[in-house]
């Protein structure tokens, strides 16, 4: 029941908001709906018993003639992501409170529908249901970019949509194929995880799924939609996309690829990890060259999530635990970083690094929070980025030290471009006329993020405790 509530509170609330014209109260209504869902998710986390079993499970028939069921539930892995989704969304909503824009009802409604459908991806235990939520999350994202984007956003939104949809459609074909392995056809997780495929079929299924996820995450070389979309989307949309939505892809590898085509993945993963680690270094090098802060963060995101994906593909407890930690940390950091972009945009009307400078003297609060988020992002020890990144790198090291070297160089380059950007924006000669420091609304968003960054750096155990039993169970059952 709790899972169903968690799913449909934001979706139904969001639908209602899209239909009523926006007013000044809309943002509060949206925040309330989102906060209720956050409360439910926290309550679920407190009720959650760290063990391997799936909890809060509901199983009912939906379209029996096609073998489709409404089967939802949460294990430790999904629990972490449920917390991430539902705790970040209220913060993302809060981050827009100061802005003035058109069609508020639709804007907040779409964000809430996204929250609900991403929750759906994490709790679905029926492959068909999962696919529906997977696609449902895409529609609001498309409209957010289309209607509130900037620059060349009309073209970008369509490219983003078509790109991700082509991947998803091939995944759909693979999903149909998997369901047909059973008579009558079935999409249920218990059946999908036990499927026996011929080697050729397994390759096809692996490729179809991995392509969809590589586009969504995005992994090199399928990342070309990402920098444009992140740069041109409204900030709240970028936060949703990078903070939460790309975790759908990473989570899906753990839930729907590892246990289904284990053997084939183990055979094929070498070249995949090669591609990914090359992508990490590649994205980091490009990030150094970026002149636009938002674009720089977009490329840094490619590098970070690449490392997570590589860690998952090692199929070791270390890699998976590290990926859970880093998924959470990256979500928090991404929201922080893109909010910093929004603050700069709001006060100086530009995100070009060259046009900024010396803001530290004018806004000490802003300088400090920016610095903490940055430290988290470059994975300094005692911030949230460190434990996850460390575990991921060490899991790679066990297979091939060259991978660690290449991926590790990405981490080092990460420090280079992050500090370089900080230098450009905050230090040096003051180029902006005036820069008001953080007001109360900014603090409401950034202070929780700063606290989360430090707390998770000191006690990564909060996350691993929830996820670990499920991860161990998963790896044993492979």
């Amino acid at each position: 029941m709790l899972t169903t509530l968690l799913l449909f509170i934001p979706i139904i609330g969001g639908l209602i908001l899209t239909l009523i014209p926006g007013s000044s109260a809309t943002r509060w209504q949206a925040l309330f709906i989102s906060a209720v869902a956050a409360g439910v998710s926290v309550y679920m986390a407190t009720q959650y018993v760290p063990s391997a079993a799936t909890q809060f499970e509901i199983k009912a028939e939906w379209i029996p003639s096609l073998g489709i069921g409404y089967h939802v539930g949460a294990d430790g892995i999904s629990m972490v992501l449920l917390l991430l989704t539902n705790l970040l969304t209220p913060l993302i909503l809060l981050s827009t409170f100061k802005q003035e824009f058109d069609h508020k009802g639709l804007f907040y409604g779409l964000l809430l529908i996204m929250q609900g459908s991403m929750t759906g991806v994490f709790v679905s235990l029926d492959l068909f249901l999962y696919y529906i939520f997977w696609e449902l999350a895409l529609i609001p994202a498309y409209f957010l970019v289309l209607l509130w984007g900037s620059g060349n956003h009309r073209k970008t939104s369509l490219k983003f949509f078509i790109y991700t949809l082509v991947g998803s459609l091939l995944m759909l074909v693979a999903i149909i194929f998997l369901s047909q392995q059973w008579n009558p056809s079935s999409f249920d997780v218990s059946n999908v995880h036990q499927v026996n495929l011929s080697p050729e079929a397994a390759i096809f299924v692996l490729m179809a799924f991995m392509l969809a996820y590589a586009i969504k995450i995005p992994l090199f070389p399928f990342h070309t939609w990402q920098p444009d979309t992140y740069t041109e989307a409204p900030t709240a949309g970028t936060m949703m996309l990078s903070g939460i939505m790309l975790k759908m892809g990473l989570f899906s590898i753990i839930r729907w690829v590892l246990p289904v085509v284990t053997q084939t993945l183990a055979e094929q993963r070498t070249w995949m990890i090669w591609l990914i680690v090359i992508g990490i270094a590649y994205a980091s090098i490009i990030a150094i060259q970026q002149k636009n802060l938002k674009r720089l963060f977009a490329y840094s995101s490619i590098a970070h999530v690449g490392l997570i994906a590589a860690g998952i593909l090692t199929m070791t407890p270390e890699g998976l635990n590290g990926s859970m930690l880093q998924m959470f940390a990256h979500g928090v950091n991404a929201v922080g970083l893109f909010y910093i972009c929004a603050i700069l945009m709001d006060r100086t009307q530009t995100n070009e690094i060259a046009a900024l400078g010396g803001i530290r003297n004018l806004a000490p609060w802003f300088a400090t929070t920016y610095f903490v988020v940055l430290l988290g992002s470059v994975a300094l020890p005692l911030t949230n980025g460190f434990p996850g990144e460390f575990m991921l790198l060490s899991s790679l090291f066990k297979y091939n030290w060259v991978w660690t070297l290449v991926a590790g160089s990405g981490v080092i380059l990460g420090a280079v471009y992050m500090f370089k950007s900080y230098q450009g924006v905050m230090l040096g000669e003051t180029k902006v006329a005036a820069f008001p420091d953080l007001d109360i609304w900014d603090k409401v968003v950034l202070v929780p993020i700063v606290i989360a960054i430090i707390l998770m750096g000191i006690m990564p155990d909060v996350i691993t405790r929830i996820a670990q039993p499920s991860i161990e169970h998963l790896l044993q059952s492979l």
Binding site: L136, I139, L165, L170, Q180
Partner: protein
């Protein structure tokens, strides 16, 4: 139907609506359901016929509501127009209920002849006249194929009765080429009616030229009836030799959806775009015909219902907007969101459903069809259809995006019309319900 004779313009629509509603209810009464053929073996009202008839009448009902406003300025012949609508839908019901080739032919003609007239019902519009003439010439020409095919089948099997034909085919070890030729000719008539390639050329011109309410009637009711008749013929008359024709249907399906989608990409007239979209959709539905399983009929029924609803919504939005603009181009939708967010919401749902985006009903329909084809080993066709769906997104989204672009002249003023609003509300709700609870229809047969 004869209300036109009394020239009671005011009464015409309520009477017609009442008649359709009564027919809809009567159709669904349990007494109506007989598994044995009636009228000396002419018709058979099994659950297949009843469900298809219900869909036909339900959609006619909403189109009739739409037509009230559309024909408000028509002073004469209003009763005739409504009567023609009803004749046509009766023809469709005969088609899906027929158990005899002759009856089937009669149904097809009763369906078509009123449509020829209706297509020209905007008498002062040259395009409308062209549409009617074109449709009539092509349609009557195709009828010849149908009759010739029927004669050949009759000549070999000795009967028009579906049951007898089916028994003859299963008892004959080697079916003669003449029968196959006959079946082929009959199928040409179907392919024409559902506007599948290579007999699709009439559809864009006729759809564009006809009045919008007639166009949507042709694209939904007539097409659903044709698919119903097609299915009926395939499953009940020629089931034993159906395998011979599946490769042909598969190739035509691939051709139809590809042509429809590619041609739709560059259309700027909404009706013409919907015409090509309807060709593409015919291609998808044919996927369900390549191998007939237990679920084929309900899958086709569900798909056609969902597709029809989405089309009615699109046309209703178009009509509402057209009142203020008078142009048929999709550019006319510009600025719609600024002035009418709810109207845009309906349009967006319809387009998303047509594009087959989850969780809307169009997706479930497409999915069920893909599964049907996959069951029969047509994996290549399914992959092609999936790619085609991706192409479809381009033009469906083009329409959708237009509504969100702000127009140069500021927000457009759109009148509030009760009839259109009612249709939109009914159809949008139906679309949502069918998407969330597809079982209502998907398991009905």
């Amino acid at each position: 139907m004869f209300i036109g004779a009394f020239k009671l313009k005011k009464l015409a629509l309520p009477a017609v609506l009442l008649a359709t509603l009564a027919g809809f209810v009567a159709n669904l009464l349990p007494q109506n359901l007989h598994d044995a053929p009636v009228f000396s073996g002419m018709l058979k009202f099994d659950s297949f016929a009843v469900n298809f008839s219900a869909v036909l009448m339900g959609i006619t009902l909403v189109i009739l509501i739409l037509s009230r406003r559309y024909y408000r300025d028509t002073t004469e012949h209003l009763g005739d127009i409504y009567a023609l609508f009803l004749f046509s839908v009766v023809g469709g019901m005969i088609m899906v209920g027929s158990y005899n080739l002759v009856m089937f032919f009669v149904g097809l003609e009763i369906l078509s002849i009123p449509l020829y007239i209706l297509a020209t019902s905007e008498r002062n519009n040259l395009l409308s006249n062209e549409a009617g003439l074109k449709y009539f010439l092509m349609g009557s020409f195709i009828t010849v194929f149908l009759l010739l095919g029927m004669v050949l089948v009759y000549g070999m099997s000795g009967s028009f009765d579906f049951g007898v034909i089916s028994a003859y085919l299963s008892s004959t070890p080697t079916v003669s080429a003449l029968v196959k030729l006959g079946v082929m000719l009959i199928m040409i008539a179907f392919i024409f009616k559902i506007s599948a390639a290579p007999f699709h050329f009439w559809a864009p011109d006729v759809y564009q030229g006809s009045p919008a309410v007639i166009m949507v009637f042709m694209a939904t009711v007539a097409k659903t009836a044709a698919f119903g008749g097609f299915l009926r013929f395939l499953t009940q008359a020629i089931a034993p030799i159906e395998d011979t024709f599946t490769p042909l249907i598969a190739v035509l399906s691939a051709l139809t959806m590809t042509i429809g989608n590619l041609m739709a990409l560059n259309q700027s007239n909404l009706k013409r775009l919907l015409a090509f979209s309807s060709i593409a959709n015919a291609g998808y539905v044919m996927l369900a015909l390549v191998g007939l399983g237990a679920n084929s009929s309900s899958t086709v029924l569900y798909y056609m219902l969902v597709y029809s609803i989405a089309n009615v919504i699109a046309i209703a939005v178009y009509l509402t907007v057209k009142e203020s603009l008078g142009s048929g181009s999709i550019e006319g939708l510009k600025g719609l969101y600024q002035s009418k967010p709810l109207l845009t919401f309906c349009l967006v749902l319809a387009m998303l459903s047509l594009a087959g985006i989850p969780p809307l009903a169009g997706f479930i329909g497409k999915y069920a069809i893909f599964v049907e084809a996959l069951h029969n080993g047509y994996a290549w066709l399914v992959v092609l259809a999936a790619l085609n769906s991706a192409i479809g997104i381009f033009y469906y989204f083009k329409v959708m995006r237009m509504a969100f672009i702000s127009s140069e002249e500021g927000p457009i003023s759109v009148p509030y019309v009760l009839g259109y609003a009612a249709v939109l509300v009914i159809c949008t709700l139906a679309l949502l319900v069918l998407g969330i609870f597809p079982n209502v229809v998907l398991n009905s047969l």
